[in-house]
Symmetry: C2
Subunit: 344 residues, 2 copies
DNA sequence: TCCGGCTGACAAAACGATTGGGCAGACATG
DNA sequence: CATGTCTGCCCAATCGTTTTGTCAGCCGGA
């Protein structure tokens, strides 16, 4: 392992001082250095393929160009990848790096991890939680720039990005309305998380805008997995008059609904249209027919959070924003107009 | 934002030199400092809640206690979370931090990212690829400690961790044999990746050990998704004599097989036992009945890779090892003895 | 008294960058 | 010739640690 090239080596070989090398390579404004010298320094740096040591620079500048993503268990969820990817690519595009830490939900390890990161001179934090919700930011982070991910704070000074659940629920329902459905069921989640209420509200809004009075008999709540979807599905399909379309809280529940429909001898989409939520490709692509669903903007959230965080680190005056990102509908094959004959 | 406490502050307040504080807090061996002074220093450090600045330490020590996980697209795959989580927790347990970078598969950005990380004094690299395979380590990494993840190298000096596909295939097949099945089909992947061949070999081995001559008519190859599983499933179920059990290359194909079985009016597991691979919980838990499958040791791979890497950083003499990690069978409800009556 | 050895600490030099404040020399001006 | 201004560059301090080498004081032995 050969010794790493330092700025001193470049200076020596170019016959100038370390100062000059630094000024040249950083294009320090207001410093007068002849074009000749500039060229020579640059060439030598190139020849030696000199790369400045970021640790030394961090120490001197008191900033590291490193962001930390700390989360409870987010790395465990199926979508984690997209959040992390969005954050990582956004950081990398701007020359920043990303550190990853997860606390497993334990508040005490969380504090310890955050302190470790602060000792590393991390410049800012992304704080992400598993289910988007109102969140108490750890006291340790009070002095550091923070952006929330898939969560928001009561404190408006803390920027955050989360999915627009209401818009997503409305879009899903609107799609069914646009195809001509009037009796549209909702198989909702049992737990009171923001997604549950948001999607319900979106469903209601779409119906009302279409002049349809929401019918509580068409809304069920169950465990948010395939078994829950199956049970609620059976109940709803046996309900009379049966809905021609059902919007499911998520794709897992939709998967259960497919099973229930098969059991009742109903074909999708001819006899029943289905829309899911989450765009879990494993499920949505795997079902027959493919599941039309609503995608969560995970990648976008990660990217937005990083961009916002960097902006606020570089210019602390930037106003805080709490955004809700659009959830787009992803069409596959589980929606047709009611009473439609199979097309092919 | 109050000024951070430095070692100088501690020294000042304890009435000793910076040197002494350092010795005390690091328990530098061979340094004589009275118990009295030790106690005082520690107490002051505590009072001020002093945390050494790791950047300065990294600069001085020329090591950062930071590992980098660089991957092509691994963060995109559904399992990424587990690998990352395993790596992160193992690192954290030892006081190390993890940086994350992914190249999107582009060799050029990969080089750039690696250089950026080396400028940051990263002490070692985990290099992970999407599908485990023999891999050429980028030249940039030649001088740094590296461990491969979900991949291996032709160079035995580079340690690696990957799933033991053969053992996994064998375990899946053995489970079916143990339940009394003799005609066991295999719906394999179309692509020649290590998983394809490994799982096939495991299947063959288990059959031979049970004294069964493998029948090529019972092995099909298809696209490794639900559609592929569906098509191969139909073909295999129409095959005569029909197998009583089928081992699928992965859970997605098994999902397709469920659909094919339903279409032929066959019940799982009464009429057909099914074993998958990957333990994609979204699918395996979502199907009815739950899918018995083989889990990939993603978490363990991440953890093992970090432990190995750290060991080799701290003691470069540690011999290199290329390990294959066990893939355990996860039983759910898709396997019964052939011809069994439904139990309840 | 002088010397050697031990104890308990400290000063200063790194590590590799950035940056504020000089300081020579060239040239113009009066 | 003295003075002033500008150009082009460099010195040295700094960021917060670790570590090497040194040193004052004390005690015991000759």
């Amino acid at each position: 392992m050969t010794k790493r090239i330092s700025i001193r080596d470049v200076a020596l070989r170019a016959g100038v001082s370390v100062t000059t090398v630094s000024h040249v390579l950083n294009d320090t404004p207001g410093k007068r250095i002849s074009d000749e010298t500039r060229a020579r320094v640059r060439q030598v740096a190139d020849e030696l393929s000199y790369r400045p040591n970021s640790v030394a620079r961090s120490l001197r500048l008191q900033r590291s160009q490193i962001l930390a993503l700390v989360s409870d268990e987010i790395a465990t969820t199926p979508h984690a990848g997209q959040i992390i990817l969005g954050a990582q690519e956004a950081a990398s595009k701007r020359g920043w790096l990303l550190m990853l830490v997860n606390s497993g939900g334990d508040r005490e390890t969380e504090r310890a991890e955050i302190r470790a990161l602060q000792q590393r001179q991390v410049d800012g934090f992304l704080y992400a939680t598993m289910y988007h919700q109102v969140v108490e930011v750890p006291a340790e982070l009070a002095d550091s720039p923070v952006t929330l991910l898939d969560a928001r704070s009561d404190d408006p000074r803390i920027p955050s990005a989360a999915p627009d659940e209401v818009q997503g629920g409305q879009a899903a329902t609107q799609l069914l309305l646009d195809r001509g459905h009037r009796r549209i069921g909702l198989i909702n989640n049992f737990h009171d998380i923001p997604a549950t209420e948001g999607r319900l509200e979106g469903y209601h809004r779409a119906l009302r805008q279409a002049g349809i009075q929401p019918d509580d008999g068409l809304v069920m709540r169950e465990r948010s997995d395939a078994v829950g979807g199956y049970r609620a599905g059976l109940a709803m399909l046996d309900h009379y008059p049966r809905p021609t379309a059902i919007f499911c809280f998520n794709d897992r529940m939709a998967m259960g609904l497919y099973q229930a429909a098969a059991e009742r001898g109903l074909r999708i989409p001819e006899d029943l249209s289905v829309v899911g939520f989450d765009n879990q490709e494993l499920i949505a692509d795997g079902l027959r027919p493919g599941l039309t669903t609503v995608a969560l903007p995970h990648y976008e959230m990660g990217a937005w959070a990083v961009e916002t965080l960097i902006r606020r680190i570089e210019d602390p005056g930037t106003p805080s924003e709490q955004v809700l990102l659009r959830c787009p509908v992803i069409e596959r094959g589980s929606v047709t107009p009611p009473g439609a004959r199979p097309s092919g």
